[in-house]
Symmetry: C2
Subunit: 309 residues, 2 copies
């Protein structure tokens, strides 16, 4: 029997750090490096060096996957497909990622948002292995969400920007305008890590259990989950990110989801099974790079990829 294992490049392209890895068909990571995100030229040069060095050892990569901070262009008919487009991150607007990698490595490139990639990883190997439709939320410096329908991340016009829906304001959350530069008090503006800090001068973990911030945060995130049940009808919601690393938070969110749905969704998953419906991630901080690996595997599996060599 010959060794038919194929190797893939996987890149988690984050706004503060990049993680590069080599993985195989089984979802195993064989090599991994992480380094801070600086300017595009230096950062992408480090990415290329890592992948070139590894492919000298193991042979040609079967495909490369990129889960990228955004917003990104995902329309395959656009000449900017695979670019980071207009971003507040200095120097990174209009940065070509996917075409550069395709030219350099002559292999199929999978490219998607960081949150769609993480959603895909939790679907393939993590907390949503047993369902086809899910939402992955990350609540941290920002609020983002990836949506997987029938095993594939949805794109449409661009990609979901779930963090910017508007919640109703919590009655205890008065005199606070929110921190979103675009929307003020959208979800990201009132429930992200920076919003918590702006409101209280502290992070959630620094506030004791009786502080009203816990109730406010749970209410907003419960509203967000309820909106998603009503609009995209996922079979599971996976909630990760720095704010969610406070394990006390998730049990506070679930009753808020019930409150906002008002008994309308007549499904046992909602009425009595929220413990299994809204869950923590299982892949921890490996979700991003494993998602990139999943994108690479899917790109290799596509019979015809517009970026294939």
């Amino acid at each position: 029997m010959t060794d038919e294992r194929r190797f893939f490049g996987a890149i988690e392209a984050g706004g503060t750090k990049f993680v590069c890895a080599i993985g195989d068909d089984a979802g195993k990571i064989h090599a991994q490096e992480r380094f801070p995100t600086t300017d595009p030229i230096a950062t992408l040069s480090t990415v290329r060096s890592f992948l070139q060095g590894r492919s000298r050892e193991i042979g040609k990569l079967a495909a490369i996957g990129v889960g990228c901070f955004g917003p990104v262009e995902l329309d395959r008919t656009s000449e900017r497909y695979g670019f980071i487009v207009r971003t507040p991150k200095p120097g990174w607007s209009n940065t070509d990622i996917a075409c550069m990698l395709a030219r350099e490595f002559q292999c199929p490139i999978g490219f998607d948002t960081d949150v769609n990639a993480a959603a895909l990883a939790e679907h393939r190997w993590g907390a949503a292995r047993d369902v086809k439709n899910l939402v992955y939320l990350t609540i941290g410096t920002g609020i983002g969400g990836g949506v997987v329908v029938d095993g594939t991340p949805i794109h449409g016009l661009m990609h979901p920007e779930i963090g910017h829906v508007y919640p109703r304001r919590h009655p205890l959350d008065v005199g606070f305008d929110g921190v979103c530069p675009f929307h003020g008090d959208c979800m990201e503006g009132v429930a992200s890590g920076p919003a918590i800090f702006a409101r209280t001068g502290a992070s959630l973990q620094q506030l004791d259990a009786a502080h009203p911030q816990w109730e406010i945060e749970a209410d907003y995130l419960g509203q967000l989950c309820a909106q998603l049940v009503l609009t995209v009808s996922p079979q599971r919601i996976v909630m990760g990110g720095g704010v969610m690393s406070q394990a006390r938070l998730l049990p506070l969110i679930r009753p808020c989801i019930s409150h906002w749905l008002g008994g309308y969704i007549d499904r046992s998953e909602i009425l009595s099974g929220l413990d299994r419906y809204v869950v923590a991630p299982q892949l921890g901080d490996q979700a991003g790079v494993l998602g990139a690996l999943a994108l690479a595997m899917d790109a290799a599996a596509m019979v015809t990829s517009p970026l294939a060599a």
Copy 2:
């Protein structure tokens, strides 16, 4: 050349009326009947008589499609698949539709919500022919929405219930609690036809252009569209239903969408192309039955259908 045309049964199962039709592969309707919805036994008996009569003339139906009022069970692994489940409509809770038709007519059955069916019809033959991802909204007695992703209606946990997301209240809309029995002032509670009537004692068309109800209604529906852009990222939104039949309303909604998105979605479709992005339906009151025809065609195309003969 032999005539290879196949014929399909199409049933628009509405809460107030049923429409039954025979259509062909080209989307042409050859016979159609409409009758009021009474109790399940009498109504479904009329459906069977229509289809039996027609299939005696044209031969065995290739498949039957049903776009159904809800909520319905769409999980193919459930023993209640193809049922109308808990509904406020007297007598109709737990009514078997799809299995009854499969038994009776020994052919594949396509079954989905009425709004998913209408979305599919507008995608195949109407206002969203040129895109793969769309939302179809109906604003009338209730507010409902169908979501099509990559040409297929999404289901997930059950199906979207878009009408029950919460808008922020309009500053002119004071002292009104909303009419939704589950949620009070959710979108359906404040922007459906009955909500307009409860607030003003009139329908929208009876109110003159200067009445604040126009502004309130446009604001709520603009919020709804903005939420959908952020959560499901459709390539088009099609807005139908009785309330939308007031042609003055759609042009009032578009600037509200821009307002609620706050310039965040950097796409020409949103920034300068809302006239083509948020549009009226093209199939009028035939969308429902044509959607049922599309469901029938898709059921026939499935290689293995759990309900196939």
